[in-house]
Amino acid sequence: MAKKVALLQGNEACAHGALYAGCSFFGGYPITPSTEVAEVLSGELPKIGGKFIQMEDEIGAMASVIGASLTGAKALTATSGPGVSLKQELIGYACIAETPCVIINVMRGGPSTGMPTGPGQSDVMQAMWGTHGDHAAIALVPASCQEIFSETVRAFNLAEKYRMPVQVLYDEIVGHMREPVEFPEPGELEVIDRTAPSVGPEAYKPYDTSFGDVPPLAAFGSGYKYHVTGLNKAEDGFPTTKADLVDAEERRQISKVKNPTALADIESNEEYLTEDAEVIIWAYGSTARSSRYAVNELRKEGIKAGLFRPITLWPFPEKRTAELAKQAKAIVVPEMNLGQMILEVERVAMGACKIAGVHRVDGEPINPGQIIAQVKEVL
């Protein structure tokens, strides 16, 4: 049987990806350019007995998502820059309380209200460093409507597997444009559920590290009574100020994402003509699409250009970026901001090659011509 294909906006593809992943709760607040995610789910979730709630504000939306997740639901919210800024404290809460949830950020310009209907990529550092305190972050940056579908599924998988908030960031261009999206059959994409406790309620501790860096999570209302707090806590979930326990907890929350096995599991990149490339265009999201166009044009002119496209932006693809910096004469980093991920590229390249940015924040996409010009300039 032919698969279902529909022409979908990026935001619509996101909503359908969430449903595929088993999302049963959405808590949100209207904000351009993400609102279509909420609109689709307000119609689709009740059809499967799921819950949609439009909360009183962005913070309340994030709170409702964490609350729902603790009952065992796969929970989602979708917003844009101003909303993500408001949600930051509770994103940190989800980090320390180790509560799985997915946050969609359809990026527009900024700061503040900025240009609500224009695209931007200026929240990429915020995705890592937005909430206060030390913590790990996972952020995915799909570049097409099909990929928004599959990366939303992967975001839920990673959130459930690593017990933490996962952000999916895509810009307004991909959020609002329409492309044919093929709906995967059930089972075609992997769907991961959180690990349930293997011990009974009496022996259960919500942060029991004897099960590894990611302890099993029981659902409220399933016979397990336990305590959840935003304070630094011991394995039993209760607050502690004991130095060794706090230190171990903080470090584990980062190592659960940054240990080599987890990194290999979480990282995802696409490379195009990088094997012999003398210049690497390092780009993500819709800007990577302009970059691929630029690579093709440059190759026609005999310039050995290649594209490195992170699909997982955080944790940062340090190893591969460093390798490419050693291989290439130059790395060009186009992004719709005034220079964010280029700082990370510079950090890991450690001076191994020239690095130049292409930056634009006027509400217009970076076009291939701008990238081509910068590549020629830098070589």
Binding site: I53, E56, I59, A61, A63, T71, G221
Partner: protein
């Protein structure tokens, strides 16, 4: 025979953090008795709080307890209740947490009339941070951030709740220990958002700045200002000057939010 509170308290979690003379412990005992009276299954009961002294209460109780961020208890609780409507959801916290930083979530929980019981301990002050004025600190009173007397008008929490649409609103005080569990019991039994405001005392950060010589003085004040609603109906405006009504202030039947959402699911053709 003494009431058995121990079966509801998590082993090893006492002593609590509250100062001697603080009324929060009285409220906690009232809540335990109310939960017992209603025969709540603690496996299936979530107790959700924000930040502050009063918000430490859930940690002592043996249930599914969720100590959230400052002001956000009602919104977390809404997520819990929506996702699992079969759970009993109790929210507790203080006046600053619930009506200042959490004011928006508080009024919207009232508006939705979602089936939760919100026990709000109003001790007129931000206690945990050392006694700054809250939206409930009486005008003219002293707090660490009102050294010349508080210029702010106050929120009447119960009136706020009624105005926002809560369908059960009651008020009592930490002095009226036996009324606390009766009102919370009524609130738990009520289908919809129930607010139980308990006027409370903070001898450490409010009392000492406002010329209360002892906890007993503070308790006496709570007793003196309280007038049961029934008695108030027979009193003149002059007699009611400076008094606070206690008992069930408002009760009505209105559709409950998760029940309304069940209808949405039905209309969408889904199975709840």
């Amino acid at each position: 025979m003494a009431y058995d509170y121990d079966k509801s308290i998590r082993p090893g979690k006492l002593p609590h953090i509250w100062c001697p003379g603080c009324g929060h412990g009285i409220v906690m005992k009232g809540l335990i008795r109310a939960m017992d009276t209603c025969e709540l299954d603690r496996d299936n009961t979530a107790i959700v709080s924000g930040i502050g002294c009063a918000s430490r209460l859930p940690g002592y109780l043996d249930a599914c307890t969720l100590h959230t961020a400052h002001g956000r208890a009602a919104a977390f609780a809404t997520g819990v209740k929506m996702a699992k409507p079969e759970m009993n959801v109790i929210v507790c916290g203080g006046d600053g947490d619930g009506t200042a930083i959490g004011g928006n979530h508080f009024i919207h929980a009232c508006r939705r009339n979602i089936d939760m019981t919100y026990v709000i301990m109003n001790n007129y002050i931000y206690g945990m941070t050392g006694g700054q004025f809250s939206p409930c600190t009486p005008t003219g009173d002293k707090a660490s951030t009102t050294p010349y007397g508080n210029p702010d008008p106050i929120f009447d929490i119960s009136k706020l709740a009624i105005g926002a649409g809560a369908t059960f609103v009651a008020r009592t005080t930490a002095f009226h220990a036996t009324q606390i569990d009766k009102l919370i019991t009524e609130g738990i039994k009520h289908k919809g958002l129930a607010v139980i405001e308990v006027l409370d005392d903070c001898p450490t950060t409010y009392g000492r700045r406002n010329k209360f010589r002892s906890v007993v003085d503070m308790m006496k004040r709570l007793k003196d200002i309280s007038v049961p609603v029934a008695a108030a109906s027979k009193m003149t405006a002059e007699q009611l000057e400076g008094k606070t009504l206690t008992g069930i202030l408002h009760q009505e039947d209105k559709p409950e939010y998760t029940a309304m959402y069940k209808e949405v699911i039905k209309r969408a053709g889904g199975a709840a």
